[in-house]
Symmetry: C2
Subunit: 385 residues, 2 copies
């Protein structure tokens, strides 16, 4: 694809994103000083259409980008602008509240991102299976009920009410609790099974039946911790966009969004694909293994457009996601879902910055020093031109 085609494709995408109307050859000449006549543009547009980058709603209408067109745009033509000072301040202010739990920060971040982008924002809680238990406590609340508190690294705390045998008194429960504590502290979540945990039963001197119920409930509490939570906000904003003027379509879209576990699964798949792609790219670039190792990092952001999203009812949507880190290795995903027609450059800038601000906030909360700014590569490539 020659330079001129690129310029024109970019101009078309930009215009279409701005207006939501098919872009005409004359309009292009008017709005971008291309130094070409509309007739020439028309010829180029026809070629771009043949190549599959553009589409026409009908013969005598302007062109709009196809999925392939958007893809080319995002991969090669995109310029990610710097975020405005106001946005930067707005995001920082919105996120710099004192939260007590990692989850609260994620929730707030999702809200922030949705506000900034005016689309739906989704976050997945971090993947903890690699983390280990720093502490686990079980405490009596009243006869028959107790609370389990599980502390992972990076200040992530989960708690859960459980039922325990009614005849268990506080002292007995404490003895079981200590036994569990000894047995599980430092263990990786992934490595904990019902068998691991049942070894804690020994040495309490209590009847197995009593102990086992507590162990089982504790186990459930731990497994619950591993479950990926999905945070989602901003659904109400979708209706403001012209692509959702059709209630039918909006309704269908909402029912997809309700299947949060599927959305989460999809986001994780995307992440894996992109990591693989990233690794492959690095492999080509470096010979030195050490360097290779160093450079293996998460992709800065991931985009999926229209049909690329293999979910029924998402044909007209796009995902932009990225990986956030909450200090250490604990990482989850956050992103937005909107119509295909979105300002990819601006959106990526917003997501990147929100992500950065959130990660900084998370480190602050855990008392870690701020991350080296340079280590945080915001954009994989700078604005072209």
């Amino acid at each position: 694809m020659d330079e001129r085609k690129k310029t024109i494709l970019k101009a078309i995408v930009d215009d279409y994103v701005a207006t939501a109307e098919p872009v005409a050859s004359k309009a292009l000449v008017r709005n971008h000083n291309l130094q070409l006549s509309s007739a020439t543009i028309r010829n180029v547009m026809a070629e771009l259409e043949d190549m599959g980058y553009l589409e026409k709603p009908h013969t005598s209408a302007g062109r709009m980008p196809s999925d392939k067109g958007y893809r080319a745009y995002v991969d090669n033509l995109l310029s990610v602008p710097p975020i405005s000072k106001e946005d930067e301040k707005a995001i920082r202010d919105f996120l710099s509240v004192n939260v007590n739990k990692a989850q609260d920060l994620i929730e707030r971040t999702v809200e922030c991102l949705s506000k900034q982008t005016n689309y739906v924002s989704v976050a997945l809680s971090p993947e903890y299976s690699d983390s280990s238990i720093e502490q686990i406590k079980i405490m009596m609340i009243e006869p028959g009920r107790a609370i389990v508190v599980i502390v992972l690294s990076a200040g992530v705390v989960h708690d859960r009410l459980i039922r325990i045998p009614a005849m268990l008194d506080e002292k007995q429960l404490n003895s079981i609790a200590h036994s569990i504590e000894r047995c599980l502290t430092g263990k990786k979540l992934d490595d904990i099974t019902l068998i691991t945990i049942s070894s804690a039963a020994e040495g309490t001197g209590l009847p197995d039946a009593l102990v086992n119920q507590v162990l089982y409930e504790a186990y459930i509490a731990i497994k619950q911790t591993e479950k990926i939570e999905v945070f989602i906000d901003g659904r109400h904003r979708l209706l403001q966009h012209p692509e959702f003027k059709d209630v039918e379509r909006a309704s269908r879209f909402y029912s997809v969004l309700r299947q949060t576990q599927m959305v989460a699964g999809y986001m994780r798949d995307v992440q894996q694909e992109e990591e693989a792609k990233c690794r492959a790219a690095m492999f080509d670039q470096y010979d030195d293994d050490a360097e290779k190792e160093l450079s293996v990092r998460k992709p800065a952001y991931m985009v999926r457009i229209g049909q690329e999203i293999n979910i029924e009812g998402m044909e007209n949507a796009s995902f932009i996601t990225t990986t956030y880190r909450m200090g250490g290795e604990i990482a989850g995903q956050i992103g937005i879902i909107g119509p295909k027609r979105m300002n990819y450059g601006d959106m990526i800038a917003q997501i990147s910055f929100v992500n950065k601000a959130m990660s900084a906030e998370a480190r602050r909360h855990c008392g870690l020093p701020p991350e080296d700014e340079n280590d945080f590569e915001m954009y994989p490539f700078e604005a072209q031109e």
Copy 2:
């Protein structure tokens, strides 16, 4: 209003609710055997319109109920049908899961109610200011962080992570915790102030600065407990109804629903009004004071229609709410919000039954015996006819 007018008004509301189309005189004759000609019906309809019970979208259209019409219908013409066996089973099954927290049950109930009615369902967490603290525990999680667990009656548990001075060790924290426990156990939430709590500071032998931070955080945790939580579900269902075919309107409606605190406030106001009304009615009915006292009970359900709802953007909606009880005196509200045009009878039946099932479930969870069925008055009056 004579009998015939009533019959016809009822028929019109029923038809309009069923079809969402203005009801014509001929259609009434066809669908209800009124033994009258359409001309007579027309005359009656004209009178009902003069009286303010009906409206016409334009001169040559059928009639639809006005807010006043709906109000008359709900107050005098409504027949609440018994709920179907299938619905009964569906509700019971849906709610009979083992939850660990009162809040989880409320959440599930809201989901259930929304499913059953196909409208938005809202619940308010119980009003706890009258409850007292059965237990309050504070436990160290790691240096600088602790968890506060507050147990109210009826098995309601709230917990919250707090920050504590980093130099406070576990022993010291425990000493403060015990002091707080001694000071607050049995106290009504309403009666707890920063002053009450600060008296717990004495006798720990620790520097005031350290103790005060913990006290303050504990205080916040307690106040947090009092805050009314709003549970809401089923927003996505609204788009399925013809009254929300207009995206603009739907969008406005959603932005009102987002102001959860306002919705909650409104629900509580309604509750107060109705309780007052209820009391007044009882006052007329009985002379004996003792009887009066006995009969003061929550109204079975409350309805607010269209303009009666004094919230900008709710002019076309209706509320149906009721009071749920979670064992003892702990009570909150649950209800639905939908378009004015809804099947009030069926909806009231659903709400009443969901409420009943939920209350039963709640008692089960706290280990209370099932409530006396007769004590639970489902409908204030039975189907008329």
